[in-house]
Symmetry: C2
Subunit: 407 residues, 2 copies
């Protein structure tokens, strides 16, 4: 057979497109097989209110204590402390507020730099700017989706200077005060290794645990490694309070500071209204905490269902060539908050977008990774290391429906 | 009768103390007469959930849309727009968030100064610092409890410089970008005069309407004069959403900007997660908005009850010498959010504290004015004009129970 010039290339292009397209079709059919197709669109993550939600909210309304002074706030905090094993919990209005407070509690000050994965939700980087500090982006490990400890260590060795027990960015001269690590989609980052590096370089570790309630690292709940950690209870999370979050810490001093600045830094007095520093209106209202108490009661059953859905996905995608269902790192027991597929090879965003188009147009909601932080206009001038691993993951990752009710 | 040296002075002191003490007793007995004494402590302001609160919250839970994307948020915003007559409403997580967004929407930038009454709740001054701007404290008028227009104008004439259509603090060289006025305890400030001054000095006017839902200035709801205004629905306000607030504006552009930065500055896309500037997680969750819809339905009846309680107080305190019950300015119809007494004369804080002690120890909650902003440690170095009127009010003002259920 003889081809005209260009004809062969075109034929090859078509074959590649055909292959990608048939892979997208396979993914759609596996999703359909795993999920009960009801005719209604399948969301990425929907909450489930099958417990005492109405009862507790009614109790809260009957008491008239619906704001942050209400009894459900204490109850929710105690329940969270019991579940995670972390001593102190300060419930906040959302996860962003919790991150902001955790950063301040860890000592982040104006002019500092804070290491932060480029592969995170925008709240992590935004919260750093609320402290008038600069995010400094680091790369992630494809095996954990968390900050890559090995790459971080090499980078700090080459790009930072230790002086009088503090770490400085050699290029900018600014203090590198903290590292925030995200437990991406509920999969714990490699906390032991990261903590060890932070200690060695005099950097405070903060856990962005917005996605990891119910996720354990080497048998212990996430949030035990950071000087402070932040949870989120947004509507798309494993448990929800409508909007809500929490700062967790094992330090009594950090807890009282977090509580103080979250409550407009008001000093206690029988009637006087006095404040001793710049504070925030960040405490969770009691009505949202009432919802949270009911949700926390169901957390073990949600986790079981989410892990069972993940197992179903894992088995079903095992037979699909060119696609990997992301599973928990060996050291972890994950909540599988948002399930993720990784397309293999280096076919770029084209194949990913084909899958996104096909599934979304067929009423199965899927989503790519968050746009990497260093690509966003307000962060593109921030310092960063080589981010090739995150960039490769970004081109290949797809989140798929993960609600507990789908199990 | 002959007195030993010092004896006369001591006798006079005792007489003054006796007078103050008997005035405190009179105030207590008038309060007891106005309020149904049930044996339970009487709070300063308690919410009332006698409408569709439970029904709407249940509807919200049944829909599973409990976060900021839920339908109750739109409904609450539309109801607020209908009630106030302001075109655009962006519901926020609380009043502090609304103030922060209103300031940014009015163009407040890092390094600016923002005029702000020293007689306000700390959130007003805090929100200015969140913009990295500096509060610049101004005095209040005893007849309105709002910013004193005459004194402000004289001060601006002497302390500011107009240059290329912008106002600068002559002493610091910083731009005076905006004035925030509080409608104290629900009593509208003199908006026409203040707006006129702002226009003349090229200063943006922002209304801190945290306390003034249902308060009208010359027949129009407060919030019509500012480029943007902020409401609060905290648990102690006339209506509550647990925690909540709203930005109100008649400008379409300001409204879309406020909505955008309150929603993490996320750009719309079917599935991509993209953000185009530093944003905030400030939107009100739907479950709180559901509560707000039920509360707004009852607002007219709450306002009627609150005005009726105020009338009762006014009549009863009419006969007590040395005490004035604060009534709405002649141009206004106030919501009487927090009722206030003003002690006459110049007896200082001693008499006020006697009243506070006597009433609080008798289970009738009363409170002094917020500590003036320029006395708080984090604001004491901020620029300010003469604040003698606010200082005089501070020594003499007492808030008394104001819940609608007390009418």
């Amino acid at each position: 057979m003889v081809f005209e010039p260009g004809e062969l290339a075109e034929l090859q292009n078509r074959q590649v497109h055909h292959l990608k397209s048939s892979r997208a079709q396979s993914i759609l059919s596996v999703l359909r097989q795993c999920l009960a197709v009801t005719g209604k669109p399948i969301a990425l993550h929907e909450p489930c209110f099958s417990g005492n939600e109405c009862k507790y909210v009614k109790e809260c309304l009957d008491s008239t204590w619906v704001s942050s002074a209400g009894p459900f706030v204490n109850r929710f905090e105690t329940m969270l402390s019991d579940f995670t094993g972390i001593k102190y919990v300060v419930a906040t209005v959302n996860g962003t507020a919790a991150l902001h407070v955790a950063l301040k509690a860890a000592g982040v000050k104006a002019g500092d730099e804070v290491l932060c994965p480029t592969m995170t939700f925008v709240a992590t980087a935004n919260a750093i700017t609320y402290c008038n500090a600069t995010p400094h982006f680091v790369d992630s490990d494809e095996r954990t989706l968390g900050v890559d400890p090995k790459k971080l260590e090499e980078y700090l060795r080459s790009a930072s200077t230790l002086r009088e027990g503090a770490c400085y960015n050699t290029a900018t001269g600014r203090r590198v005060r903290a590292l925030v690590v995200l437990h991406t989609f509920g999969h714990p980052a490699d906390l032991d290794s990261l903590k060890e590096i932070c200690d060695r370089f005099s950097i405070a570790l903060i856990e962005d645990a917005a996605q990891s309630i119910g996720s354990f690292y080497k048998g212990k709940h996430t949030c035990h490694w950071g000087i402070a950690s932040a949870l989120s209870f947004n509507g798309n999370k494993t448990i929800t309070t409508g909007g809500g979050g929490a700062v967790l810490t094992n330090s009594k001093n950090i807890a009282s500071y977090a509580r103080h600045i979250s409550t407009t830094a008001r000093s206690p007095h029988q009637w006087s209204v006095l404040h001793d520093e710049i504070g925030y209106n960040y405490r969770l209202p009691s009505i949202n905490a009432a919802l949270g108490c009911a949700q926390l009661e169901q957390l073990p059953s949600f986790l079981e269902k989410k892990r069972s859905l993940a197992s179903k996905y894992q088995a079903a995608f095992d037979g699909v060539e060119g696609v990997t269902f992301f599973t928990e790192p060996s050291y972890a027991r994950s909540n599988y908050w948002l399930n993720a597929l990784l397309l293999c090879g280096n076919n770029g965003e084209e194949e990913r977008d084909l899958v996104l188009e096909l599934t979304n147009s067929n009423d199965i909601m899927t989503r790519p990774l968050y746009t990497l932080m260093h690509r966003l206009p307000m962060f593109k001038h921030c310092p960063r290391m080589d981010l090739s691993s995150a960039e490769s993951i970004e081109a290949r990752l797809i989140n798929i429906p993960s609600s507990p009710a789908l199990a």
